[in-house]
Point group: D2
Chain length 426, copies 4
């Protein structure tokens, strides 16, 4: 289904008076700031939607279906992201996963996506599951495997993913490895690292000049004793040894308890090795919850360091890092959940853009800790939703995306069109 | 020093126009809500200041002094809390600690406190340190001690604290025990529990009819293997066995990583055994940071469950639980830090008061998880600072407490009056 | 397949000389102790094998098959446990799971099990997954559900499980609930507790007089914000309100990071409310690894408190608590993994039995912490494998269970008999 | 006091028969192994004692004295380490801390230490506390400080420490920084890193050619939001940028919950950047408990990777890394506690030396996870205390160090000689 521009406008009209009052209030509150440039940054900022997050997620204990209407193929996944992008104007990219989304006709897909205003973001390979008919099993790892044939199969799969990406106009490969071990003694850590590095080097050498490779790290799960790319330090080691096209990718849920993620982000930026993000939120592990649903202040602090660090390097917020969501939707409609994630990210970004950098820098220089806290809390406590909504309005999207989604009964329409379907994914 | 009413009014006048604009905006946004009753609840809500938090804190690695001006005695501590209360109108109580605050003349202290509009909140005993001249050491615990004489000394100390409290008009005793063990085998857990219970029973029997006993729990530190009142389950066991005057006290920093504190709070309320709070914030352990400085959403969620649960029981928000701060101030001016803590707590309380309970209950009844999240985030993302400021204004306090504190150079005045002093505490 | 007694004896014969040397050494080392009574306790101690752990486990990211030979039905599961019990003499019970193991003919199953020397341990219900054809979904919980019809369905399922258990000669029901929530606001914690309690009460009332109900708790997963029976404190609340047949069940992997499980165990024993265990090990969450593979000293410390506490109450080690394994086998042969778990548990139990209780009690009474540590480490550092092996020898089992398992090529035989099968389970 | 050789011999004589029986048993058990070479490695292995760990430790809540007899000066600290070394033959080095141990006459100290068979291990600087009379405060950090003058003072202090070390014959500087922040916004992470790096570079340039600089990391405490050398990844970044004399130092207690320390160790070794260790144990944070008292299996696993990794690089176990204890003694006699730590470390090292490397490597190559676990558990479960004791015996030390310590009433003697003293330290 498509959401028509006039449907959006009509819904917006009903909300416009209240919105204008709120936006006018914000303009007055922030009159000393160039709000127009902030709004333009919000308009430009796009967060890629992962193709595997368009269906219901689950755990090892099972998966509970929603009403249905989940996309049955890559075309319908693009359609779903098109719906999101029509609603919020901030979801202008899709991140594909091979083999769940093997494109049959890349050119047609590019045109389809383009019609929705979508680009193809980073491609994702999968060497954490065995595929029917594959010669070797990844039970004991892929790029780390003690068996050279298994490594070779995994390398070739990644190279194939790059080729799909080239055809689609993507320019990045995200390598997330489940490789690791479940028990002490299972692995020789050094050899596992060396095997993984050697494998990554082969994949890296197949990367086009203008591509990036994102080396994702994760503390634990599905291996429960060690992970071979287990933290940012290990990812940075790989990325440094690989070369200038290799970067670290930060998934917010892939850390040990209490980790200071914003510091990691700031240091990776400093090193020129931050590649991008998988946004989500979590309380216990890689819970893959809606971004900003558990620790919204942490999300803001991450963006605070991102904005400061990117500006210090003269980077383009929208283009120079990869912004992706990676979440599961076990108890919500996946599309509603994604709308909530994007909204939370946009709010955090807006808050970070409004931080008084000069005053903060002065407070830091004076070790005025209470003042520094006041400055950060001042923007965090400000209600910037009308600013984000204004950016949507200007982009031709909905003032209230989730409101319009429900008003239009999008899920019902999808169920009617597609049936009680269940999408590929976890 | 005193802050004069006209000093407050003059400062408020300079901020009044902006405040009125913001408050008017809020009134329009929340026109469907009885804001006046919300404001009255905010005016009534008082958070006790612990006498030991008026000076600079430290760690085992040392303590770094601030400029000075720290209170030298109980009278100056009351003066400091008086300053805070004059500024924010929400700090109308002081929580004393024995032996750091042994009152010489209770009647004079009551009059002094009363002059500042202050009450004496829960009394705190100390059996985690040895005092000069005491016969027995608490090295191996106090109420749990294998030596009956040590237990007796600790019991008598608590009874003495109750007596001081009676003289001052307090009506609660907070018992925080450092008791526990550092190594496996050091303690027999069962006997430690039994000794502690027996000791608490003796203290309990010395409690006046209208008093409460708060049994505080803590997961670890200063003992690093076990703590004898280590979690809410243990505290509830003690409180249940003691009787109807005994309650569990929740210090936000006293949990294992990732604990769901709001659920604990809801269940203790359900059981009629929640006594009160020690507010602070933390990232790693009992970090004793400013309330709301790390996880403000968690603070809101706690108040969300408090408001819902207290209303369900017909409890009085301001009076039926003990509200206290327990924080350290290692890198900030203690008084500024306390102002920030109180502000964060008041905001969280205001947010919780504005949650649309009926809509939330319906969303829960319909398992509409996305909607429930929207409802909570809607008030959390709202900027309610003007509401809290309005409550202050009506209470005769400052619109911008920390602004006025700095404008009046309070710390400088205190340094001039008191010298380069350092207060008792940790 | 069956392992014949003479196969065991023949294998034992080849190891006997070395075993006797080791056992003789132990007898000399522990000559001041009644080793015979220790050995008898080891012989008597039986650990139930869960029927769902006989096949390969997995995570939400997938499952990697082993060679096959996994049991296809309840009869083959009993056969597998029979193999384990023949090998180690300590796995004389099976814990069934409904609906994965619905018995068609209880009497035949009893005879089959009896032939292997097996009893039917606690029955396990499943309300964390939807079954084909069931009227209601557990997506939003079972016993906690806001919908009375869902709760009713879950209650009736549990009652059906009890009936199956009665027919088989079991005498306990383990209730593990995945009930909880993924997002703040999703649940009203109090109502979720009340619904769950009411549901448990209905199940409890269907319990035969001589049965126990085990209320299992878990901190997180598959719900990632709250769990409705989330910790021992909550489980104890339910068990206390239910009545004398209700107990708390401790799964070692169901805690927050750094929890002191041995203290929890000691206090539950003190309260007369410890029901039993699900043994496994973990580093990060509910990793379900082999018992003793990550933190063997913790396993010993738990048994140390169990032995002390049970003896203090005059309880029978083998009979008065439920001893079960609950582990997953993602990278090992399930039967080998279970043999390793049982071995680790038996060693920990043996170590605990040999702790010098009198000396430990004296050291505790004298606050001689270094001595207390020496006493515990003395038995932990002792190599008691020959003692456990001797108990196996006397029970007619194998000196080296995993050695014999491999020597006999048990897995190959099972693959040949059953094919490339995959068992029910997670 | 001194422990005379004949006192040791006499005590050993009383234990010799039992020891010989145990050692003979081990010889038979490990007849296929060159035990003599293992024993020689144990004899050669020396663990440095930190001068600040010879007195009673404490927490921010206080310190409880032991009977006394704590060293009053650097000479008595050397005397204490001499006692330990006489007892266990494995504590042949002392690690000094400036300004707690400023040597007045280096040559005399060298002779004194040499008389006890002691070397001067890594020197430790202190920029986490202010010293009386110093011009600048480290309240807001030292090498990271926004104020160049503060950084300069800290740099000069470190250079002074190097000079003291040169005079004493040390060849390493350990830099542990408490630098970090307590609140979001307090620091600019990038600038803090850059300031710290620049400061370290200045110190590094003052390092003699044959010295090493150990950059220690710590996750949290005394700063509770961020630490500027917060994890191994950050330490490695500094060490790599500094140059070939700079290394990472691993303190076992300085990690986030659940960290896989052995993997970190293996990777640092692989990178040629592992400098050494601070041994201790912990359950919650930097608890500074006796090595091996909480997680002895983890200690073994670390040594397992150390032995494998050092052998792979042809490194000398005893000389090529820095082995130090860093523990606090809050409830035990410090000297007894240190004896227990050294014993636990020696046992873990002995276990690691006996791991069947060839079989383990084969099991890894075959992904035989159960076998790999059996191999590691086989040495861990073996009782190797007699092997460690034999090494002591051959080194002229005590078979039972803590037994002899108590037999000789060492603490009483020290109290008599020194009085109720309290040593410098934390």
């Amino acid at each position: 289904m498509n959401i028509e521009q006039n449907q959006i406008e009509k819904h917006n009209d009903s909300l416009l008076t209240a919105h204008q009052r709120r936006f006018a209030f914000l303009q007055e509150e922030w009159e000393h700031v160039d709000l127009e440039s902030v709004i333009q940054k919000l308009v430009d900022f796009q967060i890629a939607i992962p193709s595997w997050a368009l269906g219901t997620g689950g755990t090892r204990f099972g998966r509970f279906a929603i009403a249905g209407g989940e996309p049955r193929n890559i075309e319908e996944k693009i359609e779903d992201v098109g719906l999101l992008h029509a609603l919020n104007g901030s979801s202008g990219a899709i991140s594909l996963h091979i083999p769940w989304d093997i494109p049959q006709n890349a050119e047609e897909l590019r045109q389809l996506a383009s019609g929705y205003g979508l680009k193809f973001d980073a491609m994702n390979s999968n060497t954490f599951q065995d595929q029917a008919g594959s010669a070797h099993s990844y039970k004991f790892g892929s790029l780390q495997n003690v068996n050279k044939d298994v490594r070779k199969q995994a390398i070739e799969h990644n190279i194939e993913v790059i080729k799909h990406g080239i055809a689609l106009g993507s320019d990045a490969l995200t390598v997330w490895l489940a490789d690791g071990s479940c028990f002490p003694g299972q692995l020789n850590f050094r050899r596992a690292f060396e095997n993984t590095l050697e494998s990554l080097q082969e994949i890296y050498s197949a990367l086009p000049e203008d591509w990036k490779m994102f080396v994702e790290y994760k503390a634990f799960e599905p291996n429960f004793y060690s992970t071979t790319v287990g933290d940012w330090g290990q990812s940075l080691l790989y990325a440094s040894k690989l070369g200038k096209k290799a970067y670290t990718l930060v998934d917010l849920g892939h850390h040990l308890p209490n980790a200071n993620i914003e510091q990691i982000v700031a240091l990776l930026l400093m090193e020129g090795k931050l590649g991008g993000f998988h946004f989500n939120d979590s309380k216990y592990g890689d819970d893959d919850l809606t971004a900003g649903s558990i620790k919204p202040y942490q999300l803001f602090l991450i963006f605070n360091d991102l904005v400061e660090g990117m500006d210090a390097k003269g980077m383009n917020h929208a283009r120079d890092l990869g912004w992706m969501i990676d979440a599961s939707h076990n108890v919500k409609d996946p599309l509603e959940d994604l709308l909530q994630s994007v909204e939370a990210i946009m709010i955090a970004y807006a808050q970070a853009l409004l931080v008084d950098r000069k005053a903060l820098s002065e407070a830091q220089q004076n070790n005025d800790v209470a003042k520094a806290q006041e400055i950060l809390q001042n923007t965090f406590r400000s209600d910037l939703r009308a600013l984000v909504a204004e950016a949507r309005l200007r982009a031709g999207a909905a003032l209230l995306p989730i409101g319009l989604y429900r008003y239009l009964n999008v899920r019902n329409t999808l169920v009617n069109q597609r049936g009680k379907t269940s999408a590929t994914g976890l």
